[in-house]
């Protein structure tokens, strides 16, 4: 018996030693939404160099991308994400409600835990043949509008809210005129892709539609990818301030022992270097100094915030939940 105990002890000792060695090299998983592939590729490279030089510890950051809602669900169903960097606060709140993340996540980091912002702009074809300048031009007959489905895409929800923000600021606006505008707008939509990338592909590669409602960063990227001369970005007079939030997944980092690195990773996004990378990837930086340097790249647009719609919970229930405004557009006789 004693020998047996000694054997078990030595095995445990060996496991402990090997896990101590494993702690030398560390991996993080960043579960993110669709259009951030390029951003986090750059961030990960810069952060891992900085972390290595500071702590001497090699670090690998894996990234996973998909629709924001689907990604949140994957984490909920057990995907071991150390950090989540999603499109909507609502998706992180869903994780917090189920106890994976502390309820105070939005105040743990500056600026509502969103290190960069973006907005919704129009992407039109070369020479803007349909003369699309602002939201009311989208209703002109013969104009086809491309947007993904707000039910499945976080970006599409921002598109929807941007349109609503404009309608709300028109003289004599009431709830009825806002709803009428949204109905008329979706009447011009021929296809509802499930995600932002799918919509960009439909517009840029399949040649579908006259205007794409897109994340500003996605619009810049589409021009870079599919031709600077073939597409023009048109900033509307009113849009929304999209604040894509980030959070450490408490239940995962505590289990894996990766909290220090995960927190440092998210804080890195707020450093001048992280902000510079965000700006280079067409996200609007929060840091005033960096923002000033890139001011020319980002046009000034009057931006509504999610608080103007009563916060995500209210907006979700009023517009996107079952029986909400988006459903009513497509349900006959209601």
């Amino acid at each position: 018996m004693p020998t047996r105990r000694a054997t078990i002890g030595s095995i445990l000792g060996a496991i402990a030693a090997s896990s101590a060695r494993a702690a030398d090299a560390i991996t993080l998983l960043n579960v993110s939404y669709d259009p951030t592939r390029e951003l986090y590729r750059d961030i990960n490279r810069a952060f891992s160099e900085q972390w290595k030089s500071k702590t001497g510890q090699p670090i690998t950051i894996n990234q996973s991308h998909g629709g924001s809602g689907a990604q949140a669900r994957a984490v909920l169903d057990g995907l071991q994400a150390d950090v989540v960097t999603l499109a909507l606060a609502a998706d992180i709140t869903a994780l917090a409600r189920r106890g994976l993340i502390g309820a105070d996540w939005e105040t743990r980091l500056p600026n509502n835990a969103s290190p960069y912002t973006s907005t919704i702009v129009f992407l039109v074809r070369k020479g803007n043949p349909k003369h699309i300048k602002d939201w009311d031009d989208l209703l002109k007959s013969g104009v086809q509008v491309i947007t993904p489905n707000p039910k499945t895409s976080g970006g599409a929800r921002w598109n929807f809210l941007a349109a609503l923000a404009w309608a709300r600021r028109q003289p004599g606006a009431t709830e009825a005129t806002e709803e009428a505008y949204i109905r008329a707008l979706f009447h011009q939509v021929p296809v509802l892709d499930t995600g932002a990338r799918g919509a960009t592909t439909s517009f840029a590669q399949r040649g579908l539609g006259d205007v794409l409602l897109a994340w500003e960063n996605e619009a810049f990227l589409a021009r870079k990818e599919f031709g600077e001369t073939d597409f023009v970005i048109v900033p509307p007079s009113v849009s929304v301030l999209a604040e894509p939030p980030v959070a450490v997944v408490d239940s995962v980092v505590d289990k894996r022992g990766t909290r220090a690195a995960a927190e440092a990773y998210l804080r890195f996004l707020y450093t001048p270097e992280g902000q510079e990378i965000a700006a280079r990837n067409f996200y609007r930086p929060r840091d005033p100094a960096v923002a000033a340097r890139y001011a020319a790249a980002f046009p000034t647009i009057a931006l509504a915030t999610i608080q103007d719609f009563g916060g995500w919970d209210k907006a979700q229930a009023a517009y996107f939940a079952d029986g909400g405004l988006f459903d009513r557009i497509y349900t006959p006789g209601k």
């Binding site: 809602g69 669900r73 499945t152 399949r206 040649g207 939940a321 079952d322 349900t331 006959p332």
Partner: protein, 268 residues
């Protein structure tokens, strides 16, 4: 109950059959059956009779049935040619038939969309004729015909191969016309297999997601399929609602397939 067989082992094989079926089929299905009821009976009823849900179910089952009905005669023709004739390139054609099974469905969907989009090779030809395929219910039908074809062909081939040629020869020598031989001798022998192929293609079509999602356009009430609505409910973390819709699809499919099986047995 037991049928005499040269080999022993009825008890053991039946035991393994039941265990395996329960593990692989019954347990996951049971989870699907249990989940929706947290909505209550009225909630489940409400969640599967919503106009948008009904439109999606109609499209999914309608397009799958139509696609299977088109695949049945075309698949029969292809299977007949593959079994009865030898021609150059037959091996290649044989491999092609399996492509829809081997190809990841998303790849098939994207390829079909690129082909039928307004600026695609085929879309460009069809557009002046006023025919729109991509982003319409017609696109759903095209995708389902694509994924369903191999099922009909592969189920019919061995049956045609086993068809005694002397029956056809006898019919001809007894004075039957070619059409009579086909109609009264060949087809009746193939009907059960044809039904089985139809059923398999139909079942595949109802559940198909990957290839359809790219070409359908996904407009609510028009070109939105039932599996997409299930995904949408999952995105909203409405697991019970998704399961309710899954259960409704399952019951409809089961009823259809059960009916086809019964019919098949009666005709066999």
């Amino acid at each position: 109950m037991t049928r005499r067989s040269a080999l022993p082992g009825f008890g053991l094989t039946l035991g393994m059959t039941l265990t395996w079926l329960s593990l692989i089929v019954l347990v996951p299905l049971a989870a699907l059956v249990v989940r929706p009821w947290e909505l209550g009976l009225a909630g489940v009823w409400h969640s599967v009779t919503d106009p948008r849900v009904l439109a999606a179910l109609r499209l999914s089952f309608g397009a799958a049935t139509l696609a299977a009905a088109i695949n049945a005669p075309m698949g029969l023709l292809i299977a007949w040619v593959m079994v009865r004739y030898r021609f150059p390139g037959r091996g290649l054609a044989d491999a092609l038939i399996d492509m829809p099974l081997a190809l990841p469905t998303a790849v098939a969907g994207i390829a079909l969309t690129a082909l039928f989009a307004p600026h695609g090779w085929l879309g460009e030809v069809l557009a002046p004729l006023g025919i729109k395929v991509a982003y319409t219910p017609l696109g759903v039908l095209v995708a389902l015909i694509f994924v369903g074809l191999p099922f009909v062909v592969r189920i019919l081939e061995p049956v045609i191969r086993d068809l005694p040629i002397d029956a056809e020869e006898a019919a001809l020598t007894l004075g039957a016309t070619r059409f009579q031989t086909l109609w009264r001798v060949v087809l009746p022998a193939l009907i059960p297999a044809l039904l089985a192929g139809f059923g398999a293609a139909l079942a595949r079509g109802v559940g198909e997601y990957g290839s359809v999602i790219f070409i359908a356009g996904n407009m609510p009430m028009v070109s939105e399929i039932a599996p997409l609505l299930i995904v949408i409910r999952l995105e909203q973390l409405d697991y019970a609602g998704a399961a309710a819709l899954g259960l409704a699809t399952l019951l409809l499919s089961f009823t259809l397939l059960f009916g086809i099986n019964r019919l098949q047995r009666r005709l066999a």
